[in-house]
Symmetry: C2
Subunit: 384 residues, 2 copies
C-alpha cells in the first residue's frame, strides 16, 4: 500500500538522512557528556551543543548564542516563559487559538489565583484582530503570549502588529513558533521578542526530544528557572548560576538530538526557506482547491495560502472525522490527525468543538502527486 | 593512541549496538509522534513509549507502569519531586553528599523562604549515619531526599535504614539513583519510595535526553506539575489531566531516546545485574589496590567495594588534578573527570574542596587490561 504522511504539524517525517546520520555519529563515535570534562572527546560533544546554539541564534537572528536555551520540547519552553516570568497579580493577554501548551499553564496559574488572563476571541477562521489585543491591555498587564499560527486551522497571526502593541505598552512578548519555525521568516530582534519558543522536531527537521527558546536580556533577568541543578559551571556554588545559558539549562542534555537539530537547520538553509514555503504552500493551495470541489466537505480556516500555513482542517457532512481518518490510513495509507489537536479553545473558536476536525498538514517532503492521490481517495470515500 | 573511557559516572560509553539500532530504527522506519493519532504508525510509536514504561516499571518493581514518568533527565525528575511536593513551611532532611541537582533546588526554595533544610554531615569517606537522619527529623519535616551513592567518592548510602526512618515518620522518601540504577538492585516497593528518580543514559545504557521517575500514588496526589500542556488526552479540557502518567508528561517526548532506553534495559536484563556489578566492582578493587601502591596518591571514599560503587576519587601530592586529567587524556588516551563534579558539598565533606579530585568511574565495557594500563600510566606520570 502507498504511504502518504500528512501529519507534519505533529512532527516532520521522515527526517533528512543527514539528521539521522548526525544522531548516529554522536552515538557511535562521540558518546561523551559535553563540556564538563577537559578531555578531547567531551570537548567535541560540547562543540556540538555550541554549534547547534550558534545555528539556532543565526537562524532566528538572536543577537547572542548564549540567549538560546535548549529544552526537552516547546511545551517546556512555554512553561518556562509563562511560569518563570509571571508574578502574583500579573495580567496576561492571549488568544482563543492557542494550543494547550499555552492554555493549560495559564489556566493553572489563573486557577491558583496568581494571574488574570484574557483570551481574545478570534473570528471563525481563527483570525486575530490586533485592535482587540490593544483593547484588552490593562494597567496590570505584563505579557502577551500568542501562537504564530494555529495548529488546527493554520491561521497566521498578525505578529508584527502585536509586536508593536507589546512594545508600546512595554510588555513581555512571547511567541509560540511550533507551527512556523523552519517555514516562515522569524526575526527575534525585528519582532522585539522576549521569548521565542521553538520546537526542534517539526519544520526544523530535528529529532523529537529537542526544542528550546531564545530569550531577551531583560526577560532573562526576571525569569525564575523552573529547573535547577548541575550546569557544569561554577560547581563550587550551591546556587544556580545567574548567567546565560546555564541559568536555564540543568542536567545532561539531549546531545544526539541537538546534533540532529543542527543538521536539520543546515538542511533548511541549504534548500532555502522560500523554496520550502513555496513548495508547501503550492501543495496546500492544490489541496484546498480540490477539497472545495468535494461535496459535503467543510474547510475551516482562511482557505487562502497568504493567510495560513499548509495545515488544513475539515469536516465532512455525514462522516465522523475519527472514522474518516481511520479509513484514509487503513484503506489508502494516508496519515492524518483527527480530533481536537490539544487545542479545545481553537476548536470552539472555529466552531468544530467538541467533535473536532480531520487535519491534513503538509511538509516539505510531500509531493504534488501525493496531494492528487489524497484528493482522489477523499472523492472515493465521501462519494460512495 | 589507545582510548580508555573512565568517565562512566557522567554517561556510559559507548552504548550497546542494540541501543543505537533502536534509535536509528525509530528515526528511519517509524518517525511519527506517539499515540496522539489513530493511524497505524503513530500507534507503533505509542507502543514504543508504553513498552519502555513497562520495562522501567518491571526493572524497579513499580506496581503499575502508569507510575513511571519520563522526563528530559534526572535533574528534571528531582526538581519535579522537590519543587512539586514541598509546600511553604515544610522541612527537608538531606545529606552533605548530594549532587547539585538536589542541592540547588533545595537551596533555591530555602532562599525564597519556602522551606527549611538540614544537610546531614557525612563522615570523610562520605558515609551517612542513619541515626543522624533520625535526630534531624522535626515536627514539620515532610521529606527525606538522598542520593543512593555519591557521584564523587562512590559511597553507598544506607538506603534501607533511611527508608525505615521515612516510613516511621510518614515522610516522603525521594531517592536519586543516578549512580546506581543499572548496577544495583533497587526495589521501589521494598524501599517504600515516593519518588525514585532515574537517569536513562548512565548505567541503564540509554541515550542522553532520557530519564524519569517512578512515583507513589500518595505522592502523585500531592505533586503539582511543574510543566503543563498538551498530553494528547482529554483534549477538550483546558486544565492538566489529573491521572498518571499524563499529569506529569506534556509535549512531544524523546521517542527515539526512549526506544534506545528500552534496548538498554533489555541489554542489562540479558547480561544480568549481578554479572554487571561483579565485573565493575572487580575492576574497581583492582584500581583501588593499584592506586594504593602509588606514592603520593590519596584515595577518597570507603576504599572498599562492599561500601561503594566503582567510582574512585583521588588527589596526588604535588599535582593539580586538572593537569593530571589532561595528561592522562592527551598522552595516554585515558578519559577521566577532574574538578568538583557538580557536588561542592560532597567535596567539602570528604575534604577536597575547593581543589576537587580526579575521578575514575568504571563501566561495564571496561576491561582488566584497561585498568592495568591506567595504573601503569599513573605510575609513569606520578613517578617521573
Amino acid at each position: 500500500m502507498r504511504c502518504v504522511y500528512l501529519d507534519n504539524a505533529a512532527t516532520s517525517r521522515h527526517k533528512p538522512n543527514s539528521v539521522i546520520e548526525a544522531v548516529n555519529n554522536y552515538l557511535k563515535n562521540i558518546g561523551c557528556s559535553p563540556g564538563r570534562g577537559g578531555y578531547e572527546c567531551s570537548l567535541k560533544a560540547g562543540r556540538i551543543v555550541l554549534e547547534t546554539r550558534l545555528a539556532v541564534a543565526e537562524f532566528f537572528n538572536v543577537p547572542n548564542p548564549e540567549q538560546v536555551i535548549f529544552t526537552h520540547n516547546i511545551t517546556h519552553s512555554l512553561n518556562y516563559a509563562i511560569k518563570g516570568l509571571l508574578k502574583k497579580g500579573d495580567h496576561v493577554v492571549t488568544t482563543s487559538m492557542e494550543h494547550n501548551s499555552v492554555v493549560r499553564p495559564l489556566r493553572s496559574l489563573e486557577k491558583r489565583g496568581i494571574i488574570g488572563v484574557d483570551f481574545i476571541s478570534c473570528d471563525d477562521t481563527g483570525m486575530l484582530n490586533p485592535e482587540d489585543v490593544s483593547r484588552a491591555i490593562r494597567d496590570d498587564t505584563r505579557m502577551i503570549v500568542i501562537t504564530h499560527a494555529s495548529n488546527v486551522a493554520g491561521t497566521l497571526m498578525p505578529v508584527r502588529e502585536v509586536a508593536q502593541i507589546a512594545q508600546k505598552h512595554n510588555l513581555f512578548f512571547v511567541l509560540d513558533t511550533a507551527q512556523t519555525a523552519g517555514v516562515y521568516d522569524i526575526d527575534f530582534q525585528e519582532l522585539n521578542l522576549d521569548v521565542l519558543a521553538f520546537t526542534g522536531h517539526k519544520s526544523l527537521m530535528g529529532p523529537p526530544g529537542t526544542g528550546g527558546f531564545a530569550i531577551s536580556k531583560r526577560a532573562a533577568r526576571e525569569m525564575v528557572p523552573l529547573i535547577e541543578g548541575g550546569t557544569g559551571s561554577i560547581s563550587d556554588r550551591e546556587y544556580q548560576p545567574d548567567f546565560l545559558p546555564d541559568r536555564f539549562e540543568s542536567g545532561t542534555m539531549n546531545t544526539p538530538g541537538l546534533a540532529g537539530l543542527k543538521a536539520g537547520i543546515d538542511f533548511i538553509k541549504e534548500v532555502g526557506l522560500n523554496e520550502i514555503r513555496g513548495h508547501e504552500l503550492a501543495l496546500a493551495k492544490k489541496l484546498i482547491e480540490g477539497l472545495e470541489q468535494i461535496k459535503g466537505v467543510r474547510i475551516y480556516g482562511p482557505r487562502n495560502i497568504n493567510l495560513q500555513t499548509p495545515t488544513i482542517s475539515i469536516t465532512v457532512e455525514g462522516f465522523d472525522t475519527g472514522e474518516l481518518s481511520f479509513v484514509l490510513d487503513n484503506e489508502y495509507g494516508i496519515m492524518t490527525r483527527s480530533g481536537l489537536h490539544c487545542a479545545p479553545l481553537a476548536h470552539r473558536t472555529i466552531g468544530s468543538f467538541p467533535e473536532g476536525t480531520l487535519r491534513f498538514s503538509i511538509g516539505y517532503f510531500n509531493t504534488e502527486e501525493e496531494i492528487d492521490y489524497t484528493l482522489e481517495c477523499m472523492e472515493r470515500i465521501v462519494g460512495r
